[in-house]
């Protein structure tokens, strides 16, 4: 399905005019940035557009029935007019039919939706048929993929993908402590640095390093990994975990922890158990597993769980926003189930990897 900008505009106006008509608003001044649309709607002459003939007729009918006027507005002031119907248009018509490509939602639309959503309309994250924006079921996880030994130079490395989120992790160590003052005589020093590539997000980031968010995530990853590494076996040494986000589409923390686990296993660092992580959220009165970026930025609760599958213990639990206790339990349970699924997958990869190593060495 091919949509010309002009067609999109007309569809948007048609759609919006239906809503405005339903709301029975009186005098409405419409602002539109497309001169063509304005001309088509306001002109009294015979319609001569074929691609949007239907829309144009409907709109004209509604405009005649109501005390509405339409004006042209400059591009830089029209986000509000332009963005909202366009986005919703895509949600209703095209979104489910195509692969979700985040670049389709331009940043201004995203900002707009974030700032105006509550006062305007309840966004629909789960369709009546029980499908999410990217076509998943509420309890369905995105495609996950892991790859061990992605980097030749690191002691251990891994790539982990959850849907469109893609993270690369490298482990260096155990090795001599670089900064003598940080050396610990009883256990190994675990360090972690998280960084995002400039191109990882939809709108280009300018200052990726050392901001508060990345410091916080570094800390979360470090704490989660430190809890499972048998640090007491490697006193006076240092283990560095570097996590690089290549693509960000929600669930970054989880993907980072999963990648780090794989990389640590690849490096042969002794661990109590594999830490796996998954997130879950709660939108439209439904618990959703493994939120993507759009769902994550909806502002609803987002529970990230780090889980030790063999010990059946939770090592990390984070949530923002508020949630009734009983629902929280459900959501957390869902996230934990996700963790278990990830754990199974990770175990499979590791086994596969070990088999390969075995065959290489043995034969």
């Amino acid at each position: 399905m091919k949509t010309e900008p002009h067609m999109a505009e007309m569809k948007a106006v048609e759609w919006a005019s239906a809503i405005v008509g339903d709301l029975k608003l009186g005098k409405v001044v419409w602002l539109c940035d497309s001169m063509n649309t304005v001309n088509t709607v306001t002109s009294k002459e015979e319609l001569c557009v074929w691609d949007t003939f239907l829309e144009a007729t409907i709109i004209r009918g509604r405009f005649e029935a109501n005390p509405w006027t339409m004006q042209w507005i400059n591009r830089d002031q029209n986000y509000l007019v332009d963005a909202f119907p366009k986005f919703t248009l895509k949600n209703n018509f095209t979104f489910l039919k195509f692969d979700v490509r985040r670049d389709v939602i331009s940043p201004c639309v995203k900002n707009f939706l974030q700032s105006f959503k509550p006062s305007f309309i309840e966004m629909e994250y789960v369709s009546p048929e029980g499908l999410r924006l990217d076509g998943r079921r509420p309890m369905e996880m995105r495609q996950i993929r892991g790859e061990i030994g992605a980097l030749a130079k690191a002691d251990g490395s891994a790539v982990f993908e959850m849907g469109n989120t893609k993270v690369i992790a490298a482990v260096y160590g155990p090795r001599e402590v670089q900064n003598r003052s940080q050396q610990m005589n009883e256990q190994a020093l675990v360090r972690c640095e998280y960084s995002m590539a400039n191109f990882s997000t939809g709108d280009r980031m300018r200052k990726p390093k050392g901001d508060r968010r990345s410091t916080e995530i570094s800390l979360v990853i470090r704490q989660a990994m430190e809890a499972c590494i048998l640090t007491h076996l490697m006193p006076r040494s240092q283990i560095d975990i570097f996590v690089q986000v290549l693509q960000a589409d929600g669930g970054i923390r989880s993907a980072c922890i999963n990648a780090a686990t794989l990389a640590l296993a690849d490096a042969g660092i002794p661990m109590r158990d594999l830490v796996t992580s998954c997130s879950a959220g709660y939108l439209n009165s439904t618990a959703l597993l493994d939120l993507n970026y759009v769902e994550d930025s909806a502002g609803g609760p987002d529970v990230t769980v780090g889980y030790l599958p063999k010990l059946d213990k939770v090592t990390l639990l984070q949530m923002d926003a508020k949630l009734p206790l009983d629902i929280f339990e459900n959501v957390m349970q869902l996230a934990t189930e996700g963790c278990k699924a990830v754990a199974n997958y990770i175990r499979e990869i590791l086994l596969e990897n070990t088999k390969q190593l075995e065959s290489r060495r043995g034969v």
């Binding site: 490298a170 260096y172 191109f199």
Partner: protein
């Protein structure tokens, strides 16, 4: 950084002198180049290039902006390189910054031509939407994921591949008053314009070890260099930029000789790269 024993050093130097390097290559042979395009779906164009253990990703993002008042008929291109700590622990924190800025500056010099824009690999005037008012700003981001020498050539190749992969949305401009500073534009979601990347040069780095120079040096070989010259050369065999690394002095005639060697190497590299890119694009089309 590279801890090599005296014996290893001699081995590397001796191998180069005998035209048989540690990994079996000759002095002027590149490692196999693997190109993957479209690796970053959010970007307008992207590519990943691997040469041995060197692994880099380049992405191209286009944003609408205002042209420089001194060059109203040209778009803007900027190149940023980031060295991920995954490549080496020394890049942790701000540790990679120095190398990043050096690589960014070198790429800038090698790919974007002179101040007036002459000799640029990308035709800057093709980025203009409305002269003096709207143009595309291209942000080229390079990320070094793994490093085993010859980063500059790899990044140059990755950027070339990413540019071939880049589609810039078609922009239609509505008629507006001439005094209007921000004319009304409509960005198409479906139609994309491809770049002509035949003019984008390749970068050939010749590393001088002892009396000889080698291409595509690994980290170990780089640690033995006295100096290295990176030359960017386009299809016509014209030099589009040149930088020298390493402080040791070199006789001018040697530099001129290096340039002619690089020119020779670049022809093969260009052909190889072009076929790799075409193959990668074909894979993309299929999937």
């Amino acid at each position: 950084m590279v801890g090599l024993s005296l014996g290893e050093k001699h081995f590397i130097q001796g191998g180069i002198a005998q035209d048989l390097r540690c990994d079996g290559r000759k002095r002027l042979t590149y490692r196999p180049i693997y190109v993957e395009t479209g690796v970053i779906p959010q970007a307008n164009g992207s590519a990943r290039v691997r040469m041995g253990a060197t692994d880099v990703i380049a992405s191209v993002k286009a944003e609408l902006g205002k042209p420089n008042p001194f060059q109203p008929d040209k778009g803007k291109v900027s190149i940023f390189v980031d060295c991920s700590p995954t490549a080496a622990p020394t890049f942790e924190g701000r540790g990679g910054e120095e190398l990043s800025t050096e690589l960014s500056a070198a790429l800038h010099r090698c790919l974007l031509g002179g101040k007036s824009g002459a000799g640029a690999g990308i035709d800057l005037s093709s980025l203009v939407v409305v002269e003096g008012k709207i143009c595309w700003d291209l942000y080229i981001d390079g990320l070094v994921v793994s490093s085993d020498g010859n980063l500059l050539d790899a990044l140059g190749a990755a950027i070339k591949a990413a540019l071939s992969n880049t589609g810039i949305p078609r922009v239609s401009v509505a008629a507006s008053a001439p005094g209007d500073d921000e004319p009304e534009v409509d960005i198409s979601d479906e139609e994309f314009l491809q770049f002509d990347t035949s003019g984008v040069p390749v970068i050939v780095t010749l590393t001088k070890v002892g009396k000889h120079y080698i291409v595509d040096a690994t980290t170990e070989e780089e640690s033995q260099m006295s100096s290295a010259v990176s030359i960017s050369i386009n299809r016509q065999g014209h030099i589009c930029g040149l930088t020298k690394r390493g402080g040791a002095g070199v006789d001018p005639s040697i530099i001129l000789d290096m340039i002619s060697v690089a020119k020779h190497v670049s022809e093969q590299l260009l052909n190889q790269l072009d076929s790799e890119i075409a193959a990668a694009e074909a894979v993309n089309e299929e999937s």
